[in-house]
Symmetry: C2
Subunit: 724 residues, 2 copies
């Protein structure tokens, strides 16, 4: 017994008190004013863009963090407690309003009920704290404000009625006290080039596929210059005059040295061209990536679809960074329309809620709203929609409540821009984007924008309810219903069986485009007969101008899937994404027009290599295959209830997993058999069978003609034998 | 001839091209987004407060600069021009939208018409540029924006209708390219202690008078601690337990070293107490001050008044720093009510427009408005009033136009807080300050606040006109007139011959205080008979509670002066400010109640040394003597027209100068003679004389009973012999 005690004491000494303490205590996280680190890191990230060596920052307002922030929480302690304080910024610490002198790193909070508060000033970095005691830990339960209004009267008495608004702190669950938020960075791994060929005085290294990171120069020596030309394609790397990104280094080294280029870049090929007597042994790279887990999966009988899925996942992973960005070569900006699709892909792959939340917060920034998100009208709307989808997939009502005030002020901005007919049209400062497409009219009141506006108002109504802003909820609901009625009154053209593109000078145009029509389908705005009309006369009508970006193909194929056209969509997918693979794509592109030839595929924006060959919106098969083939989706928030409605769309078999808040739902489906297992509560498997199915684990009920439903219980493995 | 050329060439070589160029060219200044450096420096300054070693930051929202800013100007050049670029932040440079690669320090702008633009990102420091060419120089004519909205279409064409709002840049006329805005600091000068006495193990050094700066430790050595206790009074420095500011240094020095304390402080006495074997040879200090010129002056036959004027000027200079602050010991914050008085003193002393402008900008910060300025309702109003006064004294219409949008959004905030009767009363988050006074009621609708509100609406009407916002000007005018009528209807009490203090639950109270009544006089809101009533029944009525702060005595004495009570006020001044001098004051205090005794004078806020003994608002004699004794004031903006109406108030003679935009107005006045000379255009000297005056330089016209007026022409020296 005594020996054991001795050993314990020795262990304590060896391990150090702190470490032992860490084992006993709850885990503290770095906390800050909500949204502030999101904005700060996104400023850093979005200001990393260069174009041919020139700094190319965003053209919208970039906000800043609050420079002076108070954090506090009340504790009721059984025993006095020693607390370690880690702070980014200049600070004070108070117990019950009494400040400690100086900048203490450790304090003792006495037993009993006490309020612990810290106030932090930081201009260059986001004010942030990590507080670690045994029971006192900084976490999402702390409150914060940027104006505590703690004034005193002439007797020194603090005001007891300041009316300060306190909100829940922000946190990304960063728990290392020695790695403060300002040092947040992604992971890296060393990667070698797969091939190097001599070109001119230097060489071109090929990393085998699209990649991203910091180029590492090996054994550099001599005096002179080193030109580095990056290429997503070999052609781009070889084009000193037109490659989009490059580096020019001044070298003056007597002995050989290794060096890492400071600014990370996207490339497959790197063309190194020395000048003077500079020499270089070779290059490798530090691949930079978000350390996410592949929680979703899809595998099937069609190898091309498997390849499309894998390349989609890789494309999506490359664009899943500090935030969901558009593409890794050029902008690396947080574009709301692009991110909106990434959120949806994310729910069927990594299911990384923190990245969704921080992208939404970074996009929104601070009040006052002086422009649409990214200056684009449609992108404001995707932002609203993204919040609702996040709630649907995560069930995270707290986030909706926390972000609701920022939703409201953005919606106020939008509402203030309605014209006399209550519709939205171009005003100075607005970019009407819709899609990258030739001769796409943005004039007058575009139906597509009104549809998104209407959906956003519906979203506001739902979120206002969650935030207990019931009066606003009623208003938003009414505005949405009125707008919806107006949309159909103004834009639905019986003779064209479709919504027309726009109204100019008070008159509907003749122009029918796919945009509003496909959104009308999965927004469920059409009657069943209108849906069929739109499918026939618009979506599957070759006379209606084709879409050439994966961005809008996402919605086009979703609309078709929503109407049960999985077989048609599978062929489209094989054609379109398969077409890129046939051209040697190792990641999916910003735009793909099968009619183009050779290096035409690389050009965009009037620049020969302007196109991004690794664009998040190219990865939509992840979402389509998960939601419309595996057929798994929540019916109520956070998969509290959900449906599994597999659709092979011509495949022999498929299997996969979809991540959910409690774990995952896994499915195998062939033409004879369905196997399903779920970690969530109230699900239903829906399938068609020409004969009565045999079910292991439960009982299927016939709910319609040849349609069966099987209730799914958490943790049970079901096997259904059926006849297709 | 050839020799001369040779010498010139040699000189060019010797002096360096840059210097020669500087002589040939216009002077460039650092420029930034307007208000941003003001906010940034004020954040730094206001976060320097400590209380007994603990960091004590403000309790209101601190804003931040825009982190991403574009600057541009169009030039039409006869010849190509080489331009030097100095930038704080990460940047790009474009000519006509075409970016240079990298971060060039020198570019050549070709001849012809070209747009030069720079875009700068800076999170830690304010994005700022200085551009120096021969004719291309950065100055206040450049434009800037925080969102340029320069998006492109799919062909790469930049949007031609982005609707961006560009505004004039901000500038403090900092012209040293090697001293960027982030390094802005005040001047310093070495000062010695005048006396040192041994106390305990250390010593107390006396610097002879109130001062401010960085303590310098001479010959410090040994291992242990060094306690430094600062005191505005000897008592404070001797009180280790209660002095308001202190330093605790850990010393470990083998040889003797000199050291300067990093954080500047206010003190007259410094008590240094070593622990362990620490020794110290002595202390001196780096006096820190704003390098302003004493443009205004006052001197007279009364030596006590001269002393009061000099100490006022010194007090005011100590509080004239990066901004006009409240007091140098404790807060050092930019309080709007305090600064408002400083502006007025400034117009009669240093006449430093840049400090007025930057104080106004720093106080206002950024939108959205989430609280009153400094959280205080009255302080929002002083902010409006300060802008109008600045315009009156400077004639700087451009500043009014530039700041008008921020005036409008603050006024929107105020207007949104009116109650159902259109009046302002306490709402959560509001501090109703008025004055430091015991048992001063803040309940209900306080008349004082409505008066300030009304004056602010009048100010808005005038400024809206200047900003060409005519519809708003009409609205503000009407709101002001309505409110003024309401004030007299609700608060004027015929039986009390005064405005009552407040209305509670819809009923006027019985309470009469000085505040609203004295403002009503110099706002000229009363009828002549109401004025006389108020003078007799309030201002000169000892039964109405006395004012004990120089802050409100400022307005009380101004009201009396405005009614011609200069003799009475002179006695009050000698009594009140003279009273502080008799107690040994070397600067004027935050509060002075003659009824208090001994060290009671040092206490405030329940702390024995809580009071500030050097408070800007203690310096009001500067303003009163200049405006109401010398009697010099503008009648229209920027002294375009003005009046000189001297009033000896019992003095034998007085002389002084008042700074004006074009120079100064100087005056000598005795009971027999007036001498006046002015650098401004259309002035009038007004004086009383029992006999016809004899005038050298012009002709005096009798305009009323024994009242004469003499038109003053620029540059002429007039001498008037008259009979008092």
């Amino acid at each position: 017994m005594i020996n054991l005690r001795f050993i314990t004491a020795l262990l304590l000494l060896l391990m150090g008190y702190a470490e032992v303490q860490a084992q006993q205590t709850s885990k503290a996280a770095w906390i800050w004013y909500p949204g502030d680190l999101d904005i700060w890191v996104s400023n850093k990230m979005q200001n990393r863009r260069t174009e041919r060596g020139a700094f190319l920052p965003p053209f919208w307002k970039m906000d800043s963090h609050y420079v002076l922030v108070e954090f506090h929480k009340e504790f009721n302690l059984a025993n006095a407690e020693e607390v370690n304080l880690y702070v980014e910024g200049q600070y004070n610490v108070k117990i019950d309003g009494q400040a400690f002198s100086g900048y203490p790193k450790k304090i003792t909070v006495p037993a009993g009920k006490h309020k612990l508060s810290l106030k932090v000033y930081g201009q260059d970095k986001v004010p942030a704290i990590l507080v670690q005691g045994k029971t006192i830990v900084s976490d999402e339960s702390w409150l914060t404000t940027f104006e505590d209004k703690e004034w005193i009267d002439e007797s020194g008495k603090a005001s007891d009625k300041s009316g300060t608004t306190y909100v829940s702190v922000g946190s990304w669950n960063l728990t290392n006290p020695l790695s403060p938020p300002s040092q947040f960075k992604l992971s890296t791994a060393l990667m070698a080039a797969v091939k190097t060929e001599k070109v001119d005085k230097g060489f071109v290294a090929d990393f085998g596929k699209e990649t991203f990171g910091f180029l590492k120069l090996k054994g550099i020596k001599g005096k002179g210059k080193l030109h580095i030309y990056y290429g997503e394609s070999r052609e781009e790397a070889l084009s000193a005059d037109h490659c989009e990104t490059l580096d020019l280094l001044e070298i003056d080294l007597k002995g050989k040295r290794d060096s890492v280029i400071e600014l990370s870049k996207a490339f497959r090929y790197v063309n190194c061209q020395p000048e003077g007597n500079v020499t270089l042994d070779g290059v490798s790279m530090l691949y930079e990536y978000a350390p996410v887990t592949e929680k979703g999966s899809f595998h099937c009988s069609d190898e091309q679809i498997n390849k499309i899925y894998d390349i989609s996942k890789y494309t999506f992973h490359l664009n899943t960074r500090e935030f969901f960005i558009d593409g890794i070569k050029r902008d690396r900006w947080v574009w709301s329309g692009d991110a909106y699709q990434s959120y949806l892909m994310n729910y069927y792959s990594f299911n990384e809620s923190p990245i969704v939340k921080r992208t939404l917060l970074a996009q929104r920034g601070k009040d006052p709203v002086t422009a649409h998100i990214n200056t684009i009208m449609d992108y404001s709307f995707y932002w609203f929609l993204g919040i609702y989808d996040y709630y649907q997939y995560s069930g995270d009502q707290k986030f909706v409540q926390d972000i609701y005030p920022r939703m409201k002020s953005l919606m106020d901005y939008v509402l203030n821009r309605r014209n006399k007919d209550g519709l939205l049209e171009w005003m100075p400062g607005d970019w009407i984007f819709i899609d990258w497409a030739d001769k796409l009219s943005k004039d007058g009141e575009v139906s597509f924008e009104q549809l998104l506006f209407c959906r956003s108002l519906e979203t506001m109504a739902l979120c206002a309810d969650m935030a207990k802003d019931t009066e606003a909820a009623t208003n938003y609901k009414k505005m949405a219903a009125d707008l919806k009625a107006k949309i159909f009154k103004l834009y639905w053209d019986e003779s064209k069986h479709a919504l027309v593109h726009s109204r100019i000078a008070g008159k509907p145009t003749d122009n029918v485009t796919r945009y509003a029509n496909m959104f009308g389908i999965f927004f469920d705005y059409f009657t069943p007969s209108q849906k069929l009309d739109v499918k026939q006369h618009v979506l599957m009508n070759d006379k209606i101008k084709k879409i050439t970006t994966p961005y809008m193909r996402f919605y086009e194929l979703e609309a078709l899937c929503a109407m049960g056209e999985q077989s048609y969509v599978l062929k489209q997918m094989k054609d379109y994404w398969g077409g890129m693979l046939d051209l040697g794509a190792t990641s999916f592109w910003e735009e793909y027009n099968p009619d183009k030839k050779g290096t035409e595929h690389l050009a965009m924006y009037g620049r020969p290599f302007g196109k991004s060959l690794c664009h998040a919106w190219g990865a939509s098969p992840i979402y389509l295959l998960g939601k419309y083939y595996l057929g798994i989706k929540p019916l109520t928030a956070g998969y509290e209830s959900y449906v599994v409605e597999p659709s092979l769309g011509g495949l022999e078999w498929m299997e996969g997993k979809v991540p959910t808040p409690a774990g995952e739902i896994s499915l195998y489906c062939s033409k004879k058999e369905i196997k399903v297992k779920s970690d969530e509560g109230r699900g239903v498997l829906r399938f068609k069978s020409v004969s009565k199915p045999i079910v292991k684990g439960g009982t299927a009920v016939e709910v319609g003609k040849r349609t069966y439903e099987l209730k799914l219980e958490k943790g049970t493995a079901y096997t259904v034998s059926y006849t297709k």
